[in-house]
Amino acid sequence: MLPSTFEYLKPPDLAGTLDVLNQLKDKKVEVLAGGTDLIPMLRSGIRKPDYVVDLADKGLDDLIFESDHVRIGALVTFTTLCEHPGIRRKLPAIAEAAIEVGAVQCRNLATIGGNVCNAVPSLDSGPPLLALGASFRLQSKGRERIVRSEDFFVGPRRTVLQPGEILTELIVPMEEQFRVNFLRFGRRKALTLPIVNGAVGLAIKGNREIVNARIALGAVAPTPIRAYKTEQLLQGRKVSLELLAQAASMAATDISPISDLRASAEYRRKLTTVLVGRALEHVLRRGADRS
């Protein structure tokens, strides 16, 4: 049983939900998606809301493939993301990240929107979304805005979401020839937070010129970040083993890791170089296999 009670509200639709959230703007409110982060925080008393607003059953769990992008509802679960054939084929980095979240029981409840809004620095969905160039649809009563994924996170457990505002949809571009690989290292194979995670995306022309590079890293800064210096180094250059090694070393200078119970900052820098190097090679192999 949770230590303290609250009003549980479940408006019938999205408009009603935004209305309620607007009315309660100045109150202590939590929105409920999968609950896998919220319930432990209620249990431990870190959060003591007066109101919990349930987002279930409002059509926020749709997954829609458009011609050049996918619209992922905020309440799509990680189980759906790791099993969906379209996601596995078109956006494998998202499926690869999804399968790393918790275990089966957790993935059946946990949602990608909840993961993103909870905004821990190690979130596994963060780096693939940043590397894929995703943006987020944020809605409040009478207002809607689209925020780029790299602008959404502002610090550990902090986002640009305003009181009364919720994330309703993630918009993920599908770019031809752009291959993204998810990377992660933790202390065990399951049920462990990553020491470093990330996603490496490259688009390479026939003459081996890198026409687009987007690299995102997690658990190595207060938020998931883009490795801009590394991306610039790769952009427009021809692929060579030497270039990839340079890029992998450069990635360690794009980050600002801390030492914590999982690893030291120094270890995280070395690990970043190793993982980015491996991921770059893997993306190239994946590209080669398909062409």
Binding site: M1, L2, P3, S4, T5, F6, E7, Y8, K10, L32, G34, G35, T36, I39, P40, R43, V52, D54, A56, T79, G102, A103, V104, Q105, C106, N108, L109, K189, A190, L191
Partner: protein, 160 residues
């Protein structure tokens, strides 16, 4: 805050009065009176509280009971009963897969969910399927073997 909800637990409809602070786990144990489902960590990591929610394995310690209106729940008591054990339960007994027993209800539910999705899993798939269930006694080997054996029994039963 209190609310009336209806839950389908192991095929029986139950009308219940729940408080917003009641977790699904509390309601199953205290209000429905089925104590097979256990509370371990209370944070969704150990799997002792695993139940099926509309056919999918979930941690019942992470679900607000008040949000469960109309849902279907299966607990270990719904898997089989002493006179008619589920092949998983029989295999766990035959193989000596149970020591203290605290984790077993959750493991049985997770294994059942796995076999429904994947009737002929590899050892690796079984280990992934029960990755969310921690057992501190057995070292898992006999549990994995029991699930393999139950899968074979169920396969034979369906091919007949």
């Amino acid at each position: 805050m209190k609310k009336n909800i209806t839950l389908n637990v192991n095929g029986k409809l139950r009308a219940l009065v729940v408080d917003a602070k009641d977790l699904l786990l509390d309601v199953i144990r205290e209000k429905v009176g089925l104590t097979g489902t256990k509370e371990g960590c209370g944070t969704g990591e150990c799997g002792a509280c695993t139940v099926l929610l509309d056919g999918e394995a979930v941690n019942s310690c992470l679900c607000l009971a008040i949000a469960m209106e109309g849902k279907g729940i299966v607990t270990v008591e719904g898997l089989g009963d002493p006179s008619n054990l589920h092949p998983l339960q029989q295999a766990f007994i035959d193989n000596g897969a149970v020591q203290c027993g605290f984790c077993i209800p959750g493991l049985l539910i997770s294994a059942g969910a796995l076999l429904r999705k994947n009737p002929d899993p590899t050892e690796q798939e079984i280990r992934e399927g029960i990755a969310g269930n921690i057992c501190r006694c057995t070292g898992y080997l006999k549990i994995v073997q029991s699930i393999e054996k139950a899968a074979a029994v169920l396969q034979r039963a369906t091919s007949r």
